[in-house]
């Protein structure tokens, strides 16, 4: 499965267009990590707990998107985009979406 943010693949032709595929996940902060983050907020700097949390969620969202692409018989997902939105305080939705295609 080829996952790329490009719209075309140099040297390869799109044989079949299968439409939009997406994967998303909603994650909430861990209460303990949140407390650590509040303490870290006094001195500033990177909040590693949050970086990891969001990164893991993004990997999960991408994996779900790839699964959906496999289900429709694609061998590549083109023009992949990410989007993050906060749902309620302390929870975020991460979305990955792209165009599923069959490449020759």
């Amino acid at each position: 499965m080829l996952v790329t943010s490009l719209e075309i693949i140099p040297g390869r032709r799109v044989a079949k267009h299968l439409g939009l595929v997406q994967g998303s996940t909603v994650r909430a902060k861990h209460a303990g990590k949140d407390l650590m983050a509040s303490l870290k907020n006094i001195v500033g700097g990177e909040l590693k707990g949050y970086t990891e949390l969001l990164q893991e969620a993004r990997v999960e969202a991408t994996a779900r998107m790839v699964k959906q692409a496999e289900a429709v018989g694609a061998n590549a997902v083109l023009n992949v985009r990410y989007s993050t939105s906060s749902i309620t305080q302390g929870a975020a939705e991460l979305l990955a979406y792209g165009t599923a295609v069959v490449l020759e």
Partner: protein, 153 residues
Amino acid sequence: MDHFNLIVFLGLLLLGYVAGRIAESRHYRSIRQREAELGDVLVFASRFPPDFRVRPQTLVGGSVVVGEDYFKSIVAALQKLVGGRLKSYETLLDRARREAVLRMKEEARQKGASMVVNVKFQTFSIPGRNPNSLRAVEVLAYGTALGPAMPRG
């Protein structure tokens, strides 16, 4: 009791200022050093690669969450009264964005790529207890890493 609160407030302000300054200058030093090291991984915002030779490719990204310090939050709250430039947040976002690009470049180099094209940024702010206040901001940079061109055939 009032005095106690004031002392705690000033203590946090001082701690935030000193620790925040140290963290920021250390971060900037590390950013500059790594930017020099990773200078040969080229990054393009254009949608298409500069040449159309066949190359191995993969999606790469880098993200970082940078939190504000207590001093910055107070300064920003005061600056918001008069409007204009919020300099204390400008450096915060600058650091986050450059760090995210560096992490993306590191991943690209690890995968043997020589350039990253179609780079997109995304900024997500994590609110604090008061919904109007900023607590931390996440910056994500992602794009398609392209390896060295493969010989034809």
